[in-house]
Point group: C2
Chain length 114, copies 2
Amino acid sequence: MKYEVDLTQMCPATFAFHVIGGKWNLPILALLSEEGPIRYNELKRRLNGITGTTLTNCLKDLIDYGIIHREQYHEVPPRVEYSLTPSGQELVPLIEEIVAWGANNIHALGGQKV
Amino acid sequence: MKYEVDLTQMCPATFAFHVIGGKWNLPILALLSEEGPIRYNELKRRLNGITGTTLTNCLKDLIDYGIIHREQYHEVPPRVEYSLTPSGQELVPLIEEIVAWGANNIHALGGQKV
DNA sequence: ATACCTGGTATATAAAATATACTAATGGAG
DNA sequence: CTCCATTAGTATATTTTATATACCAGGTAT
């Protein structure tokens, strides 16, 4: 999501919603929190259905937000690892609570398709 | 977000990410948690920038997810109030933690535009 | 030589969000 | 009575976002 606004100027709630909102941000953060430093292609394989373009864009956004870190190793084939920054690590318990909420509430609905 | 899948069949984490992912779902839920039952047009006014079409779609999705409830009163002009279901109310503390995280981490980044 | 790996990018298409105009039923101002 | 405003949306067209597909360099394995 691109907004062309100065993040530090906006309301903290809006900032937080930008970081964890969006279709792929939360799945990416959940994987990073479980799998520690993880490479671009493995991230793509584990995030069922994401395309390379979208993954690249999301990772760039999260780096701009200060949530994840990109470490590039000069090897062949290339190796680039993504991991959580301290700010990102503070999100981990929240992500776990969100997943727990999902487990407790998924059975509350009927079998309709959405 | 439309997925054409049976929600009860999917992974709890994926379910949770569908509920709170998306551009507007979390802002909508935050408003509902703060303002109790709230009408369509006031919701639209308070969610700065959302359009009627998008708000309607988001509300329908959240109803399908079992997170919010729609109560229609047969008055003129029409009155329709939206509120959290018990499943939705269980999300309230998580939303508060997310906002608190935003307040603690927004100053970690420089003033770049994103 | 050929195929395959990596972390991407470029281009074109499909999907989602937006802007705009519009609706029915009523109440109030003039 | 007429005109305008209110409500909760819907219909249509346009713009923005996400996806599918092909492709790149620089190496390794067969």
